[in-house]
Amino acid sequence: MKAETQLQNPYEPEPMRLIRRYPLNEDVHFFQVRAVDMEKALSLNYLPGQFMMISINGIGEAPFSISSTPSRPGLLEFGIRKVGNMTNRIFQLKENGIFGVRGPYGNGFPIEKIKGNDLVIIMGGLGAVPLRSLLLYALDNRDQFGKIYLLHGARTPDEMLFRNEFFNMMKRDDLFCHLTVDQDDTGQWPFETGVVTRLFGKLAHIDPKNTYFAVCGPPVMYKFVVAEILKLNVPKHQILMTLERRMKCGVGKCGHCIIGGYIYTCLEGPVFSYWDVLHMKGLI
């Protein structure tokens, strides 16, 4: 919501109901929520790559990437890792519990620019959460995109998020889906092993000028993945990544997410291109 149309206090969260939750792995859980006010639930619009501020009274607020797609309106989905007070409290919530959510915030992926091009989505670990939104959006609007690739890396089979969902995607014929784990102690893993960059061999015939890359994963992943993408001669502004920062407001005021002096991640991010990374210092 921009200044000219803003009516209500942007800092006051909207009551939302937890519809269902289940574990994605040992410390990441899936949370499906809906605005208590049904009209608001259905009219809530957002872009893949945007985030919401989740509020727990008595603890505070923190930003969380949206994992659902706006092409399936009504329900919002998050994948949340338990790391501190805030997420401990979120993990205490039970189905039908009410809590506060406000947003969406951030720029999101430039969907309109990506449309008509091929799309390669590269996710590692928790990076699957925001990129799942983009992936589902592209699959729900399949005719508007060229070839779609998913390269997914997890540390171990047990740590992999959205396992069944992505396993099922292997069967789709409108998606090139490649899954890998760094290491498999179970001996049961049916797909690739090794770091996610190993999967680049599957991208033999991409057309660099007409392909967008979307990358999200642990900080260490970016360096190696970007190096591989650059080898394919992909223009820097077509390499997109979504980044994490501390945030207290989400609306460009509190200052905590500032990068390079004046870039507020909550307004101009969290999706940045590799060109942004090169000229805005301190991004990754």
């Binding site: 803003q6 206090n9 800092y11 008595g58 790391v83 501390r246 407001c249 500032i258 870039i263």
Partner: protein
């Protein structure tokens, strides 16, 4: 803008007449310096005060305030009506900072807490004579035609009273008998002479020309590490800065946990936890990184984003820092000039 005159002996009567516009806040003496305080005895106002320790920002976004309260049923916004206020004695540097803050708080999203207070605030500016810490001439903020409802230029036995808004005009209409509508050629000459005298009195000569480029080239300068060694991360520089609006949000709960309030408090990019995310990763662990952020923001990045520096040359950070890390020493250091601390 419109200009009238007011005799000095009429000023207190004027301040009395505009009482209906709100509580009067002005600079008063406190220890070795000045603070903005609510004034009822006008003779306590220090007309020669150059800078209050903390600028006007404390009246528009207080160091700590309640955003809303909550209980088991949900959140409740405050229905308490804030008092109207008149801030007296802001100099051009602070008025420029006020314009920057007005712009910042309405950009992209309007901040309702700022707006609420700002809409209840009238501003009376006051001319000044620079001391050895003022460098508003270098930041080109030593004059202003905007940002005030009224502005007083001290020309000896009278003030030129500039009316900058319809609210200011309303204030003057409270007491038309106290002002003189007729500004003469003689007054103009006095005003021009005053300007010349004032401009020749700037002692601190800083040159910010090309600063963004110098900042860019200094990104890996060893200076940042040297400053990081010295910095006490006390946040004094950000607390006194009129264009530092960063805040933290902290929930206060009553025993039992069900009820409490969400509060907003001033934060500082000099504090360790400012860029720390859940799980403990800190995007600016080193003090040198935080100093770099602060000065890049003030001298380089803001120029790129808004076409002007976020520093208004008020001189508060010079003299606030126990270890002399301020805009002056940093700029001189980066430009390879002799540093006078």
């Amino acid at each position: 803008m419109r200009a009238v005159k007011i005799k000095k002996e009429n000023l207190f009567d004027f301040l009395e007449a505009i009482k209906p516009f709100g509580d009067l806040w002005g600079p008063v003496k406190s220890g070795d310096g000045y603070v903005l305080e609510k004034v009822t005895d006008y003779s306590n106002i220090e007309m020669s005060a150059l800078r209050t320790r903390i600028p006007f920002k404390k009246l528009l976004f207080p160091p700590k305030f309640t955003m809303f309260k909550f209980d088991e049923k949900g959140i409740r916004s405050s229905d308490e009506e804030l008092p109207r206020q008149v801030i007296f004695g802001l100099h051009p540097c602070d008025l420029h900072a006020l314009l920057i803050m007005d712009n910042f708080h309405s950009l992209h999203y309007v901040d309702p807490y700022y707006r609420e207070r700002r809409e209840r605030t009238a501003v009376i500016g006051l001319s000044c004579f620079p001391d050895d810490r003022c460098f508003c001439k270098a930041t080109n903020t030593h004059y202003t035609e905007k940002g005030f409802d009224l502005f007083l230029t001290d020309l000896g036995d009278f003030y030129i009273l500039w009316i900058g808004s319809s609210l200011g005009d309303d204030m003057v209409r409270e007491c038309p008998e106290l002002v003189d509508e007729e500004v003469t050629h003689d007054d103009l000459e006095k005003y021009i002479a005053w300007r010349k005298k004032r401009e020749s009195n700037f002692k601190l000569k800083l040159d910010f020309t090309g600063m963004p480029s110098i900042m860019e080239l200094s990104y890996d300068s060893p200076l940042w590490d040297e400053l990081g060694e010295k910095c006490l991360s006390c946040g004094a520089c950000t607390i006194v800065c009129p264009t530092c609006p960063c805040f933290n949000v902290i929930d206060e709960v009553d025993i039992g946990g069900g009820t409490g309030e969400r509060t907003r408090r001033w934060d500082s990019c000099m504090f360790r936890e400012y860029s720390m995310v859940a799980g403990g990763h800190n995007f600016r662990e080193a003090r040198s990184e935080r100093l770099k952020l602060r000065f890049t923001h003030k001298l380089q990045a803001f120029v790129g984003a808004f076409g002007e520096a976020a520093c208004v040359g008020c001189g508060r950070c010079i003299g606030a820092c126990p270890v002399d890390i301020d805009i002056q020493t940093v700029a001189q250091n980066l430009k390879g000039e002799e540093v006078k601390a």
